[in-house]
Amino acid sequence: MLYGYAGKILTINLNTGKASADHIPEDLARDYLGGRGFVARLLYDRLDPGTDPLGPENIIVVATGPLSGHLLPGSGKTHFGALSPATGGYGDSNLGGHFGPTLKYAGYDCMIIEGKADQLSTIIIDNETVKIVPDQGLKGKGAIEAEQELKERLGEDYQLLTIGPAGENKVAFACISHDFGRQAGRTGVAAVLGSKNIKAVAVRGTKKIPVFDAKRAQEKGEEMYKVCFGKPGFKTWTPFGTASITDWANEVGAFPTRNFQTSYAEFHEKINGQAIVDRLLVTDKGCFGCPTPCGKYGHTTTALGSAYVEGPEYESIATLGGSCCLEEIEEVAYANYVCDQLGIDTISAGVVVSFAMECFEKGVISAEEVGREISFGSLEDTVYLLEKIAAREGIGDVLAEGVKQAAAIFGDGSESYAIHVKGLEWSGYECRNAPGMMLSYMTADVGAHHNRSWALGYDVSQSDADVSELIEAGTGGKLEISTPDGKVDHVISMQHSRPLFDALGICRLQSMEIGFETFHYEEVFELITGRRLSWQEMLAISERIWQLTRQFNVKHIEGFGRDWDYPPRRFMEEPVPSGPNEGRYISKEILDKMLDEYYEKRGWDKNGIPKPQTLARFGLD
């Protein structure tokens, strides 16, 4: 028996309308833990090269981890994955809330959705009973609106995943929504759900999960809450959540502003965590089992309307506020709400909209092509573009493919400020003075996402040099770094530790922000699963998953290699024009030195391809 796991994989075939449940292979649990590990392995095994991300042969994997759904802090995480329509490579994203624990209580650690329904439908799972119900009544409805309607129809004890119009229309950065404001936002998994004609997934579960030593696991879980409550960071984390970083990101010159033209916004104090507390906040909101609720549920009123909204999180502030230059927190929150209803990832949305604004400003696209004049700082223009994107109308049909594809169509040099890696839009940290964070974005398996490695703190803690000294020294502001300074090692270390939480099925924030020690996870993992693993041994599993996702990209992206790891030219050639990092940039020559070291330490060749002996070392040959 696999203790800690529900024990089954649920496969739903939309072509046949049939569902089947199979036992979790023990070697899958042993070698990949769960969550992100299950997603990566199952996608790798089941998808052939040449698969169309939006074709019926693509699959969606939804997976919990061995710690999901148990009585311990932050055990509400669920992982989603598919061949990404945004990148054509490995795609995954995760969310908190309550879906994953409920899926486990229904008896499933993992759910695979394959094929395509012949009309828009909702999947309803009630323990062993699985139905695929045609439901045209939900067509075109907002993601949150659809969730509300299904809650009223099915009952409060169902947990729901929904997509908005953007998912139905297969926008490359459509997101899966849950719990009225939680999203699996990145890599366009919701577009894959839309391509399969699935508007929503509902689950109810009433079963038990077998636990190796239930009594001691419960005692340990209770102890973990007490430890968490006693941590010095506990009281300071919850009041502002992730938005507390807004001022700091500006002070260190890492805040994306005007489509990442610069890295400091003079208006940042109007869109920071304090502004949320003073002007929006109704209540804090947490996920399943969370002692440190970082969600901020608030109400916003703007000239375009008013709405209740969860957030904005820092990333939404950075991209919708900083990059699109929305200067009031009410406007950022309203744009966030529009994204949530349309079912669009706020990170990619902010980057795509601000890219269009810069293209318009530079004359790359005209008012006739856009349908109107647009400018940075306009909420009305931002919402106009978001709605066009979700509906795939006019210019929105081009922007719906993301900045990489849009720049390829617009041309005229716009690819140098299409801010992405591998086709995934860059999240909320400008990196022309942060080589470790730059490398983190460049080498993240899904594209330019921050949650694999947040090395910005390491960069900032080590960098006190004055840019004027660099210019006087003849570097022209070009950031000089030496390769043995530990940055590559630090990035690699973080790329194992942070995604490990996604494989275990728990939130990393209690550990990363509150200071929760990892030995607690070792102890509770053993009590729940009966398996003794040190944190180091778990990190080794995380490294195996990292090698597998790289190999996944080699398998699925034609010509994949080093060229896919570079940032946009803006970051390598344009000095930051203002703010604390004025004059700085990181040249391609320096990035190449970092990549060389990174590839060597990963066991990859000069082109970034895992060597056969590396794959063999991780059992991937």
Partner: protein, 82 residues
Amino acid sequence: MINMSLKVTVNITGCLKELYPHLSEREVVESDQPLSVSGLIGELGISPRMVLFAVLNERIVPKDRQLFEDCEINLVSPPAGG
């Protein structure tokens, strides 16, 4: 002349633990000179830019705030996004 010494308890949070592994989660700092929050951060060898804010008696205080005997202060690091 009276030789005054100052003893301060410092709680290190978030990524500061990761960035400065030589520091324990709870440090006791003694000084024979008056000490501000900034001075304390310097004594610990932490980059001042990595302290998002300092919390003294459950209130956020400016970094030029002078510390007092037997006080307990939390140094809070920037969170890593959302």
